[in-house]
Subunit: 321 residues, 2 copies
């Protein structure tokens, strides 16, 4: 067996930016570079530009011979095929074999998965889930994503797309909120950053209660504004976080019935609200989880959260590419 | 490595009966014996009596030297510890190390898990899920149980108790039905055999609609009665199965978002109703599953269903004990 090389490449592919990083085995990002995803309507040009941008950073890190592999975290990424399938926020349509394209160009093995699965890999390799064999990563961003780890492996399912916990149905009544997926009542419709802003707008519209948020145009309110108002003691804003956390806690109670994880790891913008979101999650979870699972799973916030987390997560795939 | 021996023992441990079977590698039950679980308030006496009953059958099958191992399917069985934990329908309280007790007595390796996980093992070893690496077994009996297989392994979670899909919450409104677990709105409260009978009673009580079931005392109605009435074209009884199937289909759509299985395998008394239950499951599943999973998972009925299925399922554990 070949000696494991000291570094991997991680690519966090977003709709706007594509951030590349060279990462060592301890999870230090030793160099980064980025290109604009949107600037390349043709994926061939994107790969060309990405490799050109990578060249000097790879040299700096000890040359391509020092790179074990590359991992890509991408929207609608399929681990089994290494393809991106019709991602809504990318210009490249159909099935895009991005892993193969980078692999051929760089001459190293490349793995690809969706961003939430990459985050779970990152957490397991470098973060709070290090050493855990069963945990569930919940990413709270523009959407709600998830990466599920069972017996030390990310769950990809029969098709490579398992782990879409943002789309379990939390409200089956006719009042269920419309979700971006076209269905009603999904967890994501309530507990994403956009869901939180929407909950605030709904409370402002349907009540006359005072709130700092009334100083803003409703359409301008973001989840960050709600968090800031709640931080200042705004009762209405606090209620929005209580509602969001309660729903997340109840959802996690259902997830526990599935895989009885050692921990839930929360990641993403909303976790910045700290206790405002984590306390109601914990309360609702402990109150509603099946008695047999009570007190077993830890509710943790990612310690990788920050600018480099997505690159780190993607890079973790490079070790087993 | 030792040569694999030709047979295994399966024990289906129920509250009333304990059925032992000797099973060969093709899934033929070559001999069975049974004792009354309830007759042994002390577990030591139960193990003693079980081994005494097994002795002649083991001899008939070629002696203990022909037995690779033993598998036990038991309520509240924990795979990791081989113990039964406070099973409501057994007289033995606390943590009962049943696997260890049988192993010491018989001198062979013994594994233990809950009945639904054993059913999943049986399906994967001998049944419709043979060769599948990702599927979810749903057992529809007095309760609703589940056994989840991911990457070819039964999911046990951090504690050995994963896969309690009968206890995901399907109705979060204040009207959610009380479940045996003490919570409200669980899948099991609606889709178990008792849940089906309860749905029928509720429809009879809250409407004046005609039904063959009105000829019975409400408290005597069982799920079998509802199935027979529906089979005769009784509209109210049919509606009960439509309601039950719809809820199961919607629940499975959520489960698909978790592990994207190749198939759902339904097992147990209610599946005897055939299309009456399977059609509405399929309709609701196809209607509500996230678009990315549409058309991927098969909805199957166990082919092992029948008297020996539980013994076969338990025995499957014996091969890897």
């Amino acid at each position: 067996m070949d000696k494991i090389k000291p570094n991997v490449i991680g690519l966090d592919l977003g709709g706007t930016n594509a951030v590349f990083g060279i990462v060592d085995s301890r999870g230090n990002i030793i160099a980064t570079t980025a290109i604009k995803t949107q600037a390349y309507p043709k994926v061939e040009d994107f790969v060309e530009a990405g490799c050109a941008a990578l060249e000097p950073v790879i040299e700096m890190a000890g040359g391509i011979g020092s790179i074990q592999g590359m991992g890509i975290g991408a929207p609608n990424g399929c681990y089994y095929t290494g393809t991106i399938e019709d991602a809504a926020n990318l210009a490249w349509k159909g099935s895009v074999p991005l892993a193969k394209m980078f692999s051929e160009k760089l001459g190293i093995p490349v793995s690809l998965t969706n961003d939430a699965n990459a985050a779970a890999m990152g957490e397991m390799t470098y973060g709070v889930a290090k050493g855990m064999r069963n945990f569930i990563m919940i990413t709270l961003g523009t959407g709600v994503g998830s990466g599920i780890v069972i017996n030390g492996q990310v769950v990809y399912g029969c098709d490579g797309f398992a782990g879409e916990l943002g789309h379990v149905i939390m409200d089956r009544t006719p009042n269920g909120r419309i979700c971006g997926c076209g269905r009603k009542g999904c967890l994501e419709a309530y507990c994403s950053a956009t869901g939180v802003a929407r909950s605030a707008r709904e409370l402002l519209e349907t009540t006359n209660r005072p709130s700092l948020l009334r100083d803003m145009k409703p359409e301008d309110i973001t989840s960050l504004d709600v968090a800031i108002a709640a931080g200042k003691g705004d009762a209405l804003a606090k209620e929005v976080f209580d509602f969001t956390g309660k729903m997340l806690g109840e959802a996690c109670a259902d997830f526990a019935a599935f895989s009885s994880p050692e921990a839930f790891v929360f990641f993403g913008g909303l976790t910045k609200a700290g206790d405002l979101i984590m306390k109601p999650i914990e309360e609702a979870y402990n109150k509603t989880v099946l008695p047999i699972f009570k007190g077993k799973a830890k509710l943790l916030v990612s310690t990788l959260d920050g600018a480099g987390a997505a690159v780190l997560g993607a890079s973790a795939l490079g070790w087993e590419a």
